[in-house]
């Protein structure tokens, strides 16, 4: 059973502690929502899980299927089945989305599939697969030829992140503010895309979100509230409703 385990994680940046002892386990197939106000350390946690070089881990462990991944670079974590959907995806000029997706597909899945004797999708099969995924996400086929994230609207960028996730088929996906910059229609598609990968690939999801807007379309199994670098409360979907109603302030006070 695949799982991501975070044990007593403490993180510093520029000498300042921003993650102050987090314990969290995400099993395959589960959907966890991590909620919290701005500046609570949610995005930092996401970056740390994926291996961003600018953070310093002062204490604790991150385990993927029991293996400590703290010393691994982001690409190695990706190859082990970890994915991060970015709040602000980066633009890469001159690299078409289709070329990029094929490159990362080969990089992450190519070798893995060969190792277990599975067939890797040929270029034509891949093109078909991509066409279908674009359709599902209601993205125009012309997106395949556009440069990665360049000139994409907020909602388009987020859908492109979901697309990348669908192609990489991770064991565990961390999705940072999947809904920021997306309108209602895009939001539904993004939620559906996440639900699909969760269902078909049994991907464990850590959904990082400020508001519970997306949670109306994607029911979490667990909800955690993070404030000031710590998870102060965990519960089920009702906790998200409570936050919607009363805000973070009452929890902070409690």
């Amino acid at each position: 059973m695949s799982e991501l385990t975070i044990k007593d994680l403490h993180v510093e940046i520029d000498g300042k502690e921003i993650v102050k002892g987090i314990d969290l386990t995400i099993k395959k197939g589960e959907i966890h929502a991590l909620m919290g106000p701005n500046g609570s350390g949610k995005t930092s946690l996401a970056y740390v899980l994926m291996g961003h070089p600018k953070y310093k881990i002062t204490k604790g462990e991150i385990l993927l299927d029991g293996q400590n991944i703290l010393s691994l670079s982001p690409d190695k974590r990706a190859k082990l089945g970890l994915f991060l959907g970015f709040q602000y995806p980066v633009e890469v000029s001159g690299v078409s989305l289709s070329n990029f997706l094929r490159t990362v597909y080969m990089s992450v899945n190519g070798q893995k599939k060969k190792d277990v004797g599975e067939e890797v999708l040929s270029i034509l099969e891949f093109r078909e697969f991509l066409k279908q995924k674009l359709q599902e996400l209601q993205m125009d086929q012309s997106f395949a030829n556009r440069y990665l994230n360049e000139g994409f609207s907020g909602g388009e960028k987020k859908r492109a992140e979901v697309l990348q996730m669908a192609i990489l088929k991770p064991k565990i996906a961390i999705i940072d503010e999947a809904d920021s910059g997306a309108d209602v229609d895009a939001l539904k598609l993004i939620a559906k895309g996440i639900a699909d990968i969760n269902k078909t690939n049994n991907t464990g999801i850590l959904l990082i979100t400020h508001y519970n807007r997306i949670l109306h379309h994607l029911a979490p199994d667990y909800v955690h509230v993070m404030i000031n670098g710590k998870i102060i409360k965990s519960g089920d979907k009702k906790l998200a409703d409570e936050i919607e109603e009363k805000g973070y302030e009452t929890l902070r006070a409690g």
């Binding site: 291996g51 690409d75 990706a78 190859k79 980066v90 890469v92 000029s93 690299v95 990665l148 990489l168």
Partner: protein, 471 residues
Amino acid sequence: MDKQILNLRKEYAEKYGFSVPDKSVHKTEPGLSERVLREMSEIKGEKNVNEWIHKFRLRGLNHFLKRPLPKWGGDLSSINFDEITYYLKPTEKEETSWEELPPGIKSTFDKLGIPEAERKFLSGVGVQFDSENVYHSLKKDLEKKGVIFVDPDTGLQKYPHIFKKWFGSIIPPEDNKFSALNSAFFSGGSFIYIPPGVEVKQPLQAYFRINAEGFGQFERTLIIVDEGAKAHYIEGCTAPIYSKESLHAAVVEVVALPGSHFRYTTLQNWSNNVYNLVTKRAHAFEGATVEWLDANIGSKLTMKYPSVFLRGPRAKADILSVAFAGKGQHQDTGGKVVHLAPNTTSKLIAKSVSKDSGRTTYRGLLHVSKLADNVKSTVRCDALLLDEISKTDTYPYNEVNNESATITHEATVGKIGEQQLFYLMSRGLNEQEALSLIVSGFFDAFAKEIPLEYAVEFNRLIRLEMIGAVG
């Protein structure tokens, strides 16, 4: 060192960096003098045939000896002109069948994939090995339409009227020190004439190979595209990896007559012991379009600024110059556009990448003359630095003497951000792969303009440069 890099170094050396034993039929002593020039002229059979060309050579030599080295640009101080061999004749005659070539020369071009490319998608091929063209072909239907594609010696002998009319008129020997040197010792290259209205659909290709060590290659190209004609010329060049330095000083003159369309593509991949000092210039007449696509990946130092003089109304210039400078390399490149007539337009785009202490310099000129009304021009140069020890400089010169001109000028210097790398690495690419992807994206504007087969080669060379597999 990591095994992958060692393998790629081997791959580079085997594919481009090899040499074959020198089996030349004539070779002058190292160094340059009037005596050497006469010897070469005699071997080429010029002396009794054509005093005109011999005088031209002497004019070049005299100017070269008088003219000091340029004080700008790259460091030329370590070129030892006395140690260079100026003429090396590889075979008795040029062949029209690959099978007739000596085995060493044939295997060289086989390895470089030229016969294969010729079969697949070229209209004609000329290949030069050291000082002379050794093989040459042109499709029969083009020959019937009057297209001429020969080496300059043949051009002068068989088509003296066209040849003499234009030769040396676009770039006179006195233009600069290295055009003077070329004018003195030029050998090999191409003479091309496209008759009025003829469209050459598939590219004509020239391939320049240096095989000898401490050698100077001085090919000379003259291309005349007559009224309403259209053609695309591609050149590639490589050399073995030697410790001793070689010199490549070419001159390329292009005449684009009214309404013609001409594109000249270069994929320069000299080994890192070659000084590449080249003068390229085109004159575009009324309504003609000239495009230079110039990629400089190899060489120790390249100084090259393809230029277009827009001489007739509505003529158009399009220059795209890309450069990659790795360890020990300096790419001093760019372009020049001179607007001499009204309603002329130009676009000059330069993109460069520096890595491992490599240095790139953009040098560009935009000149608009008083008589040129309603000129439109776009100049853009982008430099990408991959580390702290690499360098880039920009020298844009704008001389605008007519107020009706619309000029846009943009320049950027970029570094690859931590966030961009992190993003790509989070998708499973290692640092090297992520950097390569960013760089190939940076050069995409060039790669997508050239035929697919060349784009593949170009991307492969960039990849080799990126992992430090060259040199």
